[in-house]
Amino acid sequence: MTNSWTDIKNTDLVVVMGGNAAEAHPCGFKWVTEAKHHRGAKLIVVDPRFTRTAAVSDYYAPIRPGSDIVFLMALIRWMIENDKVQWDYVKAFTNASFIVKDEFGWSDGLFTGYDEQKRDFDRSSWDYVVGDDGFAVTDPTLQNPRCVWNLLKAHVDAYTPEMVERVCGTPKDRFLKIAEMIGECSSKTKTMTSMYALGWTQHSKGAQNIRGMAMLQLILGNIGVPGGGMNALRGHSNIQGLTDLGLMSNLIPGYLNIPTEKEPDWATYLKSRAFKPLMPGQTSYWQNYPKFMVSFMKAMWGEAAQKDNDWAFHYLPKLDVPAYDMLRMFELMDQDRVNIYFCQGFNPLLAAPNRGKLTRAFSKLKLMVIMDPLETETARFWENHGEYNPVDSAAIQTEVIQLPSSCFAEDEGALVNSGRWLQWHWAAAEPPGDAKLDTWIMAQIFNRVKALYQTEGGVFPDPILNLAWGYADPNEPKPDELAREMNGTALGDVFDPKDAAKMLTAAGKQVKSFAELRDDGSTACGCWIYSGCFNEDGNNMARRDNADPSGLGVHPKWAWSWPLNRRTLYNRASADLNGQPWDPERPIIQWTGEKWEGNDVPDISPTAKPGEVMPFIMNPEGVSRLFSRGMMRDGPFPTHMEPFESPVQNVFNARMRGNPVARVFESDVETFGDASEFPYVATSYRLTEHFHYWTKNNVVNAALQPQGFVELSVQLAEEKGITNGGWVRVWSKRGEIRAKAVVTRRIKPMICDGKPVHVIGIPLHWGFVGAAKKGWGPNSLTPYVGDANIETPEYKAFLVNIEPAVGEAVS
């Protein structure tokens, strides 16, 4: 979230599209209710189903799963056509005036540079014209036909209200009503917030869905302002933290990158990360990359990371592919190229796409290690549970070791909520039986491997032997030790760069914030964006003053928010070019004539003059991007792409299947179905009583929604002879499930491209372990393909068939 949960009360309009906050984030959704009651805010829901969020909305429109880009681009077109644009914001704070290379273009659904063989674009033309001075060329009058604004206008021209009706199945009048409501928020004193979740991310073009809305928000002037923003409602309680900390193939904590093979040395690695400003006088904060990176290497390898060994650069692996994400790993497993796999609090057998493939892949492992507080299907993938898990145990040669770990009630530490608040919690009880803390388990595994390398030697033991491990008890690093390490420590005295005589922090002390990090080895910091969370003031994440002096839901002394305890990202953009708030009623920061101050920590240097330094300090341009250059693999603007399995062809290009640059493994090509065999669109979701597969182990939640079911429309039920409460069989090219049918008016057929499109909703929860009834989940059916940029699987739009089934499953 760019903003916080409590900030939602400042909004005038909530758009829930790609999410279902009332059911999936109930206690956060209360801030929508607050905004409705106290500000008169309106709520719009656009969703294939009439969800419980829709049930309390002011206006609802249906949409075909996987067609969101069309809807969003049509909204942008409508705003431009009807002059519903926050012009001062767009001209000053976005790249609307930047001139784009002449070679860039778009036709037949594809941007310039497409290579069908490589399934990739040559993105070199997707960039600005850069002048001899090294700065981007702009036309502030927006007259140049090659400026971003005019290219955007041309790009969205095809997305008419008629096209929305044709492709999305949304009635034109519904779309127009929503456009009008949203258009009101182009006012400087009215804001809209976007609340989205996995309904937008779980598509082969998920990242482009989100960009589409972010662009709309920029055009309306709603980024950085109270009650505005792009608010990703993260799924689990610490998904945000795990993302921040870079527990991914290609990441280093704080959104730094693991090098690739093309960056074989430190100098080359840094060269592509110079982040020289593209406009005069701009901050381009990533210029500090070397400071964050060196400090990370010092946190990892201490004394072993020195300037003369490039800070132990070769201790880091170098990638030959963009990432060894979980889909790639399961594919490699299926090819018999993986031997050992750890699952720490994750149940991929049910959570990953195409369960059949997962079972096959796991069966080829030599060793699987499970660390979990609860039973999972993954831990028992080899166990026969009749039709619910019909495997031949004897044929599966995988050894599985299941380690019992603690749960939230038994450990101490911080979780990062969706609004980037690091909230500390304390242990209330002790783990049951012989269960152990996760930190203890990780330390044990590490120490034992290290001991083997110490006694036996082996291949490249250096990064293991030299890993910084200065914990009071090497067998059990404590949460406060780890938090302090993430905050960062001065290894030598740290001086003010502007005044060499002024010491900021003495050696051995915690750094105050990432502003004190250095690239000369004098600081260590595990995660630069968290720097400030546990400094010499103490554990700021444990703060519990819930006061809100401004009344704007800032709560500046409750816990600690990254970065620098800032509650609203890009908040400099909440004020105009003179530094005065667009809306004087909702001031979060303002320019006093000398500096920025206000109710939140300014997201800009405190003395940066408002007319000179632009608000988007992380971008070399200083402004936000309506045109994202070559930064995304599938285009600098969102363009309509159908799901890999779709009931209709792409209206721009009938030959194009799914996202033209999404990675598809050869072995999966044959597993995509088409509409002739699988005519119905399926989508997955969870129920408010359940939390993925965990609550299967909880009798209360299992009893609240005991029965696995699928939802379908009255019309489809009549067509197929399916009765409400009767059994159905649902199958895709990859597998089948059986469930009870809930025949509902909450889902209605849509007409897309002249044909009726039926949607089948498949809630997830059921499996074969736990207190709940046995059943199946949607991932027995889902396709094995991910988003082109980040490989999030396409769970929200795929094809199935359905028929009545006889007899109840015997469990």
């Binding site: 109930p26 599985v400 990780m442």
Partner: protein, 197 residues
Amino acid sequence: MNIDLSRRGFLKLAGAGVAATSLGALGFGEAEAAELAHVRDFKLVATTETRNTCPYCSVACGIIIYAKPGDDGKRRVTHIEGDADHPVNRGTLCPKGAALKDFVNAENRLTQPMIRKPGATAFEPITWEDALDRIARALKDDRDANFLQTNEAGVPVNRWTTTGFLAASATTNETAYLTYKVVRSMGIVGFDNQARV
């Protein structure tokens, strides 16, 4: 309350605090001491209250966990409620958060390390020592056999692709950071977490 109290029943109801009250001053102290042996302690006497966070969705509601020692002396969770001081949830919980106690105390909580041997149809217990040693041995052997130090062009790549690690979504930052250090130090690149889905 319509109860016909005997003197004995009256003392029972008055409970452990009686000695310090006016009843004590009235000379019931000794009688109470005799009765205390038969009176159960007030239920909350050994109960602790701990601030915590709901582990489910990213709203991360504040909760208060009540726990007291169980028969084995270990603190056990007896009740969980919303934290009224928390600025986001203000004491409220959803149907999942409200049932959290039954997550912590679920019958399916894992309590001892288990191993499923190749081809077996069931798990069997294994000690922590043996389990951790087996894992460490397997990691070392696989790493030594498959760690790639240089690619075909002779560029140092130092990566290990035959072992992978899938991290959680509800562990603390501190667990996550320690996990990061361990996994990265070994050169594992098949590293991912639940943010992917």
